[in-house]
C-alpha cells in the first residue's frame, strides 16, 4: 500500500515537471485571473453574455463585464484608458473610435500577440474573418488613415460588426401586392404608400435623434446616393447634390414614418419595427437576432430580407464594434486569449445561434446555419457591397465635427431649416476645423 502511494506520488511529480504538460494548455498560466471587459448594451453583446460562462469553465479565467449604453461607453473608456493603470483588460468600441484610440496610443497593436506561439491559436484562421469588417474595425494607418493599405496595422478584431440590409414585413407586402424596393426611388414610393394602405403603420423606421444618430441615418443614404463627406484632399463636399438629396430622402422617410418616429435613436427605431409599427427597417443586420424572438418581437415569422436599395451606386454600411486591448491593461495576454476565444470559428457560431452577429465567413457559409437563418444568404450578398469608406473614421470626425454637424442637420431634417443653406454653412465651418487640425498643411 505504502509502495503504491509512493509510486503514484512519483508519477504525479514527474507529470508536473514535464514542460509539455504546461504548454498543452495556453490558459493554465492565467487560470484564476479576473478580466474586466467594457462592452456595450447591444443585442450582439447580450448574446455574448450567454456564451461567456463557457470561457470561464474552459480556461479558469473569470470575466467581469461592465456594460454601458454604446454611445456613452466611449467616455468612460477614454477616462479609464488615459490612466497609468487601467481597470479594463478588453474594450469593445464602435468602429469610428479606432483611429481616435490609436492616435492617442490607447490600444495595443495586435501583431506581437499573433506572433507569440504560446498565445496564438494555429487554428484561429484570420483569413476567415470577414475582410471588410477587419478593414473597418481593425485596421489603422492605411489609406486615409482608416482604410486598408500597405501602411496599415491591426489594432482590433471585429466583434459585433454589421452591415446594412432592408428588412420588410413580408405579410404586408404580400397583402398589398407590393414589390420589394431595389432602388431609392422605389423605396420612397413604397415607404409613403404604406401609411395609406395600412392606417396606423409607418413606411420605414429611421434613426433621427439629434447628434450621432441622425448623422448615421443621413450617411446611410449619402453613400448609395453617390456622396462623401470629404474628397481625397479633405475638402468637405457633403453640401453637394448627393448630400442635399440624402437629407431630403431622410426627411421624406420620417414624414412617411411611424407616429412618434422622429427623434428616435437606434433602440427606439428598432423597437418601432419589432412592435409592428412600421413596415420596413433599413439599418444594421443586428436586428435579425431579435425579429424572431417572441419575447422581444411581435413580428415573428413575418420578416423578409433584401439588399440595401441602390441609388447611384450600391453601398451598404459597415459599422458595429471591434474589440481591442488597452495599453494600460494589467492582463494583456489573458485579454488576448479571451479576444481570440470570442472571435474563434466555433464561438462565432455559438454567438450567432444565441442571437449575435457573425464576424466570420465560415459562419455565413455553414449549411446548418443557413438552414436555421435563411437570411444569411442575403447578408452574405450585402457584404459584397459593404462600403468601408461610407463615413470618415477620423478622430476629428468622431469628436468635433460629428458634434457640430449632428444638431444642425437635425434642425434641417426634423425641423424646418433650409437644407442647402445649412449644409453650406456646415461645410464652411468643417473647413475651418480641418484647417485648425492641420489637414491642409500640404495644400
Amino acid at each position: 500500500m505504502i509502495h503504491e502511494k509512493i509510486a503514484a506520488g512519483a508519477v504525479l511529480a514527474a507529470l508536473a515537471l514535464l514542460p509539455s504538460a504546461a504548454a498543452a494548455n495556453p490558459y493554465q498560466a492565467y487560470s484564476g485571473t479576473t478580466l474586466v471587459v467594457s462592452f456595450p448594451n447591444h443585442p450582439h453583446y447580450d448574446a455574448v453574455d450567454r456564451v461567456l460562462p463557457e470561457f470561464t469553465r474552459e480556461t479558469g479565467i473569470k470575466v467581469e463585464v461592465d456594460k454601458l449604453q454604446y454611445t456613452k461607453m466611449r467616455d468612460k473608456q477614454l477616462l479609464e484608458m488615459a490612466k497609468p493603470r487601467g481597470d479594463y483588460d478588453l474594450v469593445a468600441y464602435v468602429v469610428f473610435s479606432k483611429t481616435d484610440f490609436v492616435a492617442k496610443d490607447l490600444i495595443e497593436p495586435l501583431a506581437p500577440y499573433f506572433l507569440n506561439p504560446a498565445l496564438a491559436d494555429p487554428d484561429y484562421d484570420p483569413g476567415d474573418l470577414i475582410d471588410v469588417y477587419v478593414e473597418n474595425a481593425g485596421l489603422v494607418g492605411g489609406k486615409k488613415g482608416y482604410l486598408p493599405g500597405p501602411t496599415a496595422g491591426l489594432y482590433g478584431v471585429p466583434f459585433g460588426a454589421e452591415t446594412s440590409v432592408l428588412a420588410y414585413r413580408r405579410d404586408i407586402f404580400e397583402k398589398h401586392n407590393l414589390q420589394v424596393p431595389t432602388t431609392y426611388d422605389a423605396l420612397l414610393d413604397v415607404a409613403c404608400r404604406i401609411p395609406e394602405l395600412e392606417p396606423g403603420m409607418g413606411g420605414l423606421a429611421s434613426r433621427s435623434q439629434s447628434g450621432h444618430q441622425i448623422i448615421h441615418a443621413w450617411l446611410l443614404h449619402l453613400a448609395p446616393l453617390g456622396g462623401r463627406i470629404f474628397d481625397d484632399h479633405w475638402n468637405p463636399i457633403f453640401n453637394q447634390a448627393p448630400g442635399v438629396q440624402a437629407a431630403e430622402t431622410l426627411k421624406q422617410i420620417l414624414a412617411c414614418g411611424p407616429k412618434g418616429g422622429a427623434g428616435q435613436g437606434f433602440g427606439g427605431m428598432k423597437e418601432l419595427f419589432l412592435q409592428g409599427k412600421t413596415a420596413m427597417f433599413l439599418d444594421s443586420t443586428v436586428v435579425s437576432g431579435e425579429v424572431d424572438d417572441p419575447n422581444k418581437s411581435r413580428i415573428v415569422g413575418k420578416v423578409g430580407w433584401a439588399l440595401h436599395p441602390t441609388g447611384i451606386r450600391r453601398g451598404s454600411q459597415t459599422g458595429g464594434f471591434g474589440i481591442a486591448i488597452p495599453r494600460n491593461s494589467q492582463n494583456k495576454e489573458a485579454a488576448f486569449l479571451l479576444m481570440q476565444w470570442l472571435t474563434s470559428k466555433a464561438v462565432d457560431k455559438k454567438i450567432a445561434l444565441a442571437g449575435g452577429s457573425p464576424n466570420r465567413k465560415s459562419t455565413f457559409a455553414d449549411p446548418a446555419m443557413q438552414r436555421q437563418f435563411p437570411h444569411f444568404a442575403v447578408f452574405g450578398e450585402a457584404l459584397k457591397y459593404a462600403d468601408a469608406d461610407w463615413r470618415p473614421l477620423l478622430p476629428v470626425w468622431v469628436g468635433e465635427l460629428k458634434g457640430m454637424i449632428g444638431p444642425r442637420l437635425s434642425e434641417s431634417i426634423v425641423g424646418d431649416a433650409p437644407i442647402q443653406a445649412t449644409l453650406d454653412e456646415l461645410a464652411r465651418r468643417t473647413r475651418q476645423v480641418m484647417e485648425r487640425e492641420g489637414f491642409y498643411t500640404y495644400q
Binding site: L78, L79, A82, L106, Q209, K259, A262, E411
Partner: protein, 301 residues
C-alpha cells in the same frame, strides 16, 4: 512677560483654529477652480496625458465667443433658466398661499406636493421621456380619450422640445419654492395679519399687501438658489433630449459636457465652464444687490 505671551497666543489662536477649514476650502474649492482657469488656456484632448496639454492663450475663449452654437446655447440657457424660475416661483408661492389654510388632509397633500423634488433627476428625465412618448406615453393616451389622435411632437420637434423640458423642470422643482414659501408664510406673525384684518383688509389684500411683502426676502433667496441650479441643470435634459432636436434644448451645461466628452476638448470645456461661472456669479450678485437695495428702501421708507 507671561501676559505678553498670552496676548500673542490669543491673537494667533483664531487663525490656528481656522487654518484647517481654510486649507480644506482652498483644497476643495480654490484648487479645482484655479486648475480650471489654467486648463482654459490650454488645448488638452480627452484621453491624452496632461503633459500633452499645449498652451494656447486665449484661443479657447476666442473660438467659443465666435462659435454660433455656443451663442445659441447661451440663449437657450437664459430662456430656460428665467422661464422655469418665474413659473416655479409663481406656482410655488401660489400653492403655498392656498395650502397654508388649516384644511382636513392638508398634511397629506403637502407631503404629496413635495414628492417630485425627492426623485433623482435621472429618474425624472426617464419618467417624462416616457410621459411624452408619442406612441405609448400616458399623455398621448390621455389626449386620445379627448379625441386628439395626433399627439404633439413633445420632444421630437425643435418648436416643442424646450417647452417640454421646462414643464418637467417646473414639475420637479415647484415644490422647492412651495416648501420654503409655506415655511415663510407660517412664520408671519399672526398679530400683523390680525391687525390688517381689523383695519378692514380683505383676504386678497392681506395676501398681496401683508403676507407677500413679508415673505419676499425668503422667496428671493429661494429663486436665487433655483436660478443657480437652473443654469447648471444637466441630467433631466441629458436623458430627455441630449440637447436636441438641433440645439433647441442645448443649455450651457449640456454644451460643456459635449465639448469635454464628445468634442474631447477639455481646455475649451473648462473655458466654457468659467464663462458659465461668471454669468451665474453676475446674475447672483445682481439679485443680491437688488434685494439689499429693496431692503434699504423699505427701511428708509
Amino acid at each position: 512677560m507671561r501676559a505678553g505671551y498670552a496676548t500673542r497666543l490669543s491673537r494667533i489662536a483664531p487663525y490656528v483654529f481656522m487654518a484647517p477649514a481654510v486649507l480644506i476650502m482652498a483644497g476643495a474649492l480654490l484648487w479645482p477652480l484655479a486648475h480650471s482657469v489654467w486648463l482654459s488656456f490650454h488645448e488638452w484632448k480627452l484621453g491624452t496625458p496632461q503633459d500633452a496639454a499645449v498652451f494656447t492663450g486665449l484661443e479657447n475663449y476666442r473660438i467659443l465667443l465666435g462659435d454660433p452654437d455656443t451663442l445659441t446655447s447661451l440663449r437657450v440657457t437664459l430662456v430656460f433658466a428665467f422661464t422655469v424660475v418665474t413659473l416655479e416661483v409663481a406656482l410655488g408661492v401660489g400653492l403655498a398661499i392656498l395650502l397654508e389654510r388649516p384644511i382636513r388632509g392638508m398634511n397629506a397633500l403637502r407631503s404629496i406636493f413635495i414628492m417630485p423634488m425627492m426623485i433623482a433627476p435621472i429618474v425624472v428625465g426617464l419618467l417624462w421621456r416616457y410621459m411624452y412618448n408619442e406612441q405609448f406615453g400616458p399623455l398621448a393616451q390621455l389626449l386620445l380619450l379627448f379625441g386628439v389622435e395626433e399627439s404633439p411632437p413633445w420632444l421630437s420637434s425643435p418648436d416643442w422640445a424646450l417647452a417640454s423640458v421646462i414643464i418637467a423642470d417646473v414639475w420637479q422643482w415647484t415644490p422647492f419654492i412651495f416648501i420654503l414659501a409655506l415655511a415663510a408664510l407660517q412664520s408671519v406673525p399672526t398679530s400683523v395679519v390680525e391687525a390688517a384684518r381689523m383695519d378692514g383688509a380683505q383676504a386678497r389684500q392681506t395676501v398681496f399687501y401683508v403676507k407677500l411683502p413679508l415673505i419676499l426676502p425668503v422667496v428671493i433667496v429661494a429663486a436665487l438658489l433655483r436660478l443657480i441650479d437652473a443654469f447648471k441643470v444637466l441630467e433631466v435634459i441629458f436623458i430627455m433630449t441630449e440637447g436636441g432636436p438641433g440645439l433647441s434644448t442645448e443649455i450651457l451645461s449640456m454644451r460643456i459636457y459635449k465639448t469635454a466628452f464628445e468634442f474631447q476638448q477639455l481646455g475649451r470645456a473648462s473655458a466654457l465652464s468659467n464663462l458659465l461661472l461668471l454669468l451665474v456669479a453676475a446674475i447672483s450678485v445682481g439679485l443680491v444687490l437688488f434685494n439689499k437695495l429693496r431692503e434699504r428702501a423699505n427701511e428708509s421708507g
